[in-house]
């Protein structure tokens, strides 16, 4: 009896064990299989390097340097303290700090944990020497952006930072992930997809102490594509130096193709502050009232002032409302309706060329009234105002040109002749970007085509000019262009021209100054021109925010052209 019971008990226990094994190996097998893989498989990411940014001669503006990350691989926390203690000694960090870093950064047992970033070569070598004793330490070379010229061209380049929520939602479909480093602003943002490297990595098998046993798989990282800009570093440097930190921008463009040779905006920032992840430096930049992150050349909108008179002049000549023989007398001011509109000086009887030379307001009030607001508006749009120029940089502003219809719809008011007069001298609601003004000047330099400015010349050595938007021929009358060019030249060459101080330069410059009145503070100063006069190679636009007058801007322009001559780049 008892024997039989014992017999049954034996059978029951064996069945019990068999059922338990069935449960673990077959029913829950998958779960344990995963756990087993997590134990012994580690993924070690390897970064490719982001594409470099070069200037038109192939000089490197933005490069990558090798920096080193320290990672610790282990099964959970076994043996970690010994490694951290040794690492703390070399890295000169408190052991406790390193421990907290490890705990915070720890993601999963199969991912090595990064405990220190961007350490220098000496420390990396010192840590590498520890490897025979501490086999779970991984020193990983990591390409890091370097900016050999510091702040130079920072607005063109942009900076790198961890992807934000807004970009992530937009870019998730293109394979961007949280914690990715992406470009913010400039070429870094616009061409991020091309510059972007693709991370590869090793999947390795490790033992219980995190030691590498074998390599299971390897996917080589791929590097981003190099981007060559149309920027000439020498000229860019000259432009930025002559801004001397004043808020404003300088654009130098090739008038026929629209290649941007230099594009400076001030105040600026050093893109490398974002590499150090020190928040205080970034916050102080963001709090800066000079808005150093704004690229004033393309994102800043300002009243155009007198430089807009060229649009009115073109419209007047093209529509035949005036000719070269048309002349107006300037007594210093005129009344339009009950309002007095004044000029900055008194001028005698003068024709168009004289009016451009002296930047006479009264002449253009009258011309503007003759041409009419609608015509001015149409020609402004023809010249590319009120729309982005489609330069290959992000965050370009479109500016604004008011029209009678707009005023009716949005302001619920009638358009008065006073509004036309204001528009004719580039004041009022008109807003433009320095780049739009540069492009307008290029029309006179290249005799009648509206170019699309661009800044990227080649990607990975392959030219992209063919993919750019074609220049638009505006089919202006030859005579119109000739008259205005004459006017622009005499602004410089005439003894009473507003920019006559540029006349003693070894190159013949033509241009127009502008002093844009603003509601608060000093007026903005514009100088926009091209040189050499006969066969233009460069269009230059100097804009100084609250610079006082067009005169100050023409001083900057003169210094820039002088330096360019000295450097022999003209």
């Amino acid at each position: 009896m008892r024997v039989r019971i014992v017999n049954w008990l034996v059978i029951a226990t064996f069945l019990f064990i068999a059922l338990n094994i069935l449960n673990m190996e077959v029913i829950q097998g998958k779960k344990f299989k995963n756990l087993s893989n997590q134990n012994c498989i580690r993924l070690i990411p390897q970064e490719g390097s982001r594409g470099r940014i070069l200037d038109r001669q192939g000089n490197i503006i933005v490069d990558n340097n090798l920096s080193y990350n320290v990672m610790v691989s282990s099964y959970a926390n076994i043996g970690i303290d010994k490694t951290l203690l040794a690492a703390a000694r070399i890295l000169n960090v408190d052991f406790k700090v390193l421990q907290t870093t490890f705990r915070n950064k720890y993601i999963a047992p199969f991912m090595p944990t990064t405990i220190a970033k961007n350490i220098d070569v000496k420390k990396a070598i010192a840590l590498e020497e520890l490897k025979p004793d501490l086999d779970n330490i991984i020193i990983q070379p990591y390409p890091l952006r370097s900016y050999p010229y510091g702040r130079l061209a920072c607005h063109i380049i942009g900076y790198l930072n961890e992807i934000d929520r807004w970009r992530l939602t937009k870019l998730a479909n293109y394979g961007y992930k949280t914690k990715d480093i992406v470009g913010f602003g400039g070429v870094e943002e616009k061409y991020d997809y091309l510059l972007r490297q693709e991370a590869g990595g090793l999947s390795v098998e490790v033992d219980h102490r995190g030691r590498l046993v074998s390599v299971l798989g390897f996917k080589p990282p791929s590097n981003g594509k190099d981007i060559q800009l149309t920027i000439d570093l020498k000229i860019q440097k000259i432009a930025e130096e002559n801004l001397k930190g004043r808020n404003g921008s300088v654009i130098i463009m090739e008038p026929y193709s629209g290649e941007i040779i230099a594009l400076a905006s001030s105040s600026n920032f050093n893109p490398s502050v974002f590499l150090k992840q020190s928040d205080s430096a970034v916050v102080s930049l963001l709090d800066n009232s000079d808005a150093p992150f704004i690229n004033r050349a393309i994102s800043g909108v300002y009243p155009a002032g007198s430089v807009f008179k060229l649009v009115v002049a073109t419209a007047a000549l093209e529509t035949g409302k005036i000719s070269l023989s048309t002349a107006f007398y300037c007594p210093g001011s005129i009344y339009i309706g009950k309002q007095k509109f004044s000029c900055w000086d008194t001028h005698n009887q003068q024709n168009l060329i004289g009016a451009i030379t002296h930047s006479c307001n009264v002449f253009f009030y009258r011309t503007g009234l003759l041409v009419g607001a609608q015509n001015i508006y149409d020609y402004a749009l023809k010249f590319g105002f009120s729309h982005p120029t489609a330069i290959d940089l992000p965050y370009e502003a479109s500016g604004f040109v008011p029209s009678p219809l707009w005023k009716k719809i949005y302001r619920l008011r009638n358009w008065f002749e006073g509004d036309t007069a204001n528009l004719a001298i580039g004041q009022g609601e008109l807003l433009v970007t320095p780049l739009q003004i540069t492009r307008m000047m290029a029309i006179f330099a290249n005799r009648g085509t509206l170019v699309t400015p661009y800044i990227v010349k080649a990607i990975n050595g392959q030219g992209v000019a063919n993919f750019k938007r074609r220049a638009v021929t505006l089919s202006l009358k030859e005579s119109t262009i000739n008259y205005i060019r004459q006017g622009l030249r005499s602004v410089v060459s005439d003894a009473h021209g507003t920019a006559d101080l540029l006349s003693d330069l070894p190159v013949s410059v033509a241009g127009k100054t502008g002093t844009a009145q603003v509601a608060h503070g000093q007026p903005h100063g514009w100088f926009v021109g091209f040189f050499p006069y006969q066969a233009p190679k460069f269009v230059i636009c100097v804009f100084l925010e609250h610079g006082g007058s067009g005169y100050t801007s023409s001083i900057v322009a003169k210094q820039i052209i002088e330096s360019m001559v000295k450097e022999g780049v003209i």
């Binding site: 024997v3 338990n20 190996e25 077959v26 087993s36 134990n39 219980h208």
Partner: protein, 367 residues
């Protein structure tokens, strides 16, 4: 009969061979002469064990009856010796250095206690030829034999080797049951143990308490006391239906599983051979124990019968506790898997036990 004898030998041979394969696999990737020697040593123990088996199977088991008290004294002597000269390994003092190898007296003590109990409960009174166990009073049926078992058990637990101690207790209870001691007494004994448990808790070492707590919930200390159980479960579970293949178990090869060649050899085996392999192994063990029980049931001699039962159940309990421990169903106690785990003492004692079984079977035929 011959049949049984042969099948015991074949099954033992098979299990021990599987054991050597698993030990080879678990030490395969470990560097150093020590690890590479392990499976060779086990092979040596195995051959010596087979010789012992052949010798014991031709050694009349009745002689053990005569030698019982000597063996008992010898076992106690060895256990005392462990206290004085024992080698401390893995935090426990369980081994004696003897010539060029280490022996584990607790393994010997287990078998000796089975022999001792078999003799104790098969004693006949001088005047009556019939067994008198079921007529014994509580003192002679329970208290006296328990005291005799308690001395070596106490010594073993103090080593500390809770597993072997608990094993002895279980063997004792099953022997009481099969010897025909009144069921009442057995119940009283079980009750006493239950009542004593809280008291015993205070006598446990810290690590033993940890292990028991971890058994209830391995996740309270996943990197300390619970580590082994978790890794063992992962090893077994990840084996799946067919296993990862010999020499390919990541848990044991990459050393996530501690003690993979001794107490956790089953997990090593199950990881590489999967559900099919584990069931086959389990079936072999079942067949072995069934042969033992068959021998016991056929034996006309009371001593032989109890001895065969004791040996079979001792093996059965060890297999059960060890595998349950591997599966996380029993607390981690240092108990080897008979015939599989690395270790000469355990292998020798198991082969001797099987030899005795065969001899009991043979001797019955002679009567």
């Amino acid at each position: 009969m011959r049949n049984i004898n042969l099948s015991i030998l074949i099954i033992a041979f098979l299990i021990a061979s599987i054991g050597i394969l698993s030990i080879y696999s678990s030490t395969y990737q470990k560097e150093g002469e020590f690890w590479q020697l392990i499976y060779k040593r086990q092979l040596l123990w195995f051959i010596l064990g087979l010789l012992l088996f052949l010798f014991i199977s031709n050694f009349n088991y009745r002689r053990f009856w005569d030698m019982t008290y000597f063996l008992y004294a010898f076992a106690l002597f060895l256990l005392f010796l462990v206290f004085i000269l024992g080698i401390v390994r893995l935090g426990a003092q369980r081994w004696l250095k003897f010539l060029w190898f280490n022996i584990q007296p607790s393994e010997i003590a287990k078998l000796v206690m089975v022999i001792f109990l078999a003799r104790y409960f098969s004693t006949k009174s001088v005047d009556n030829v019939s067994l008198q166990v079921n007529r014994l009073g509580i003192l002679r049926a329970l208290v006296l034999p328990f005291l005799c078992v308690a001395i070596p058990m106490g010594l073993i637990i103090e080593q500390p080797d809770l597993g072997s101690g608990a094993m002895l207790l279980l063997v004792f209870i099953t022997m009481l049951y099969l010897a025909g001691v009144r069921f009442r007494y057995i119940l009283i004994f079980l009750l006493m143990i239950l009542l004593c448990l809280p008291v015993l808790w205070h006598f446990l070492r810290d690590y033993q308490r940890d292990r028991l707590l971890v058994f209830l919930n391995p996740n309270i200390d996943p990197l300390g006391a619970g580590y082994t159980v978790i890794q063992s479960k992962i090893a077994i579970g990840s084996g799946g239906f067919l296993g990862k293949g010999w020499l390919s178990g990541t848990q044991s090869q990459l050393r996530f599983l501690p003690e993979s060649h001794t107490d956790f050899i089953f997990a090593t085996f199950a990881e590489e051979w999967g559900f099919l392999g584990s069931c086959a192994l389990l079936f072999l063990y079942y067949l072995l124990i069934r042969q033992g029980i068959a021998v016991a049931r056929r034996s006309a001699d009371n001593f032989g019968r109890l001895l065969a039962f004791g040996i079979s159940l001792m093996l059965g309990i060890q297999v059960f506790v060890n595998i349950a421990m591997n599966l996380g169903l029993a607390p981690v106690v240092g108990l080897p898997l008979p015939l599989m785990s690395y270790g000469g003492s355990s292998l020798f004692v198991t082969f001797i036990s099987l030899g005795i079984l065969v001899n009991i079977n043979k001797t019955r035929a002679v009567f």
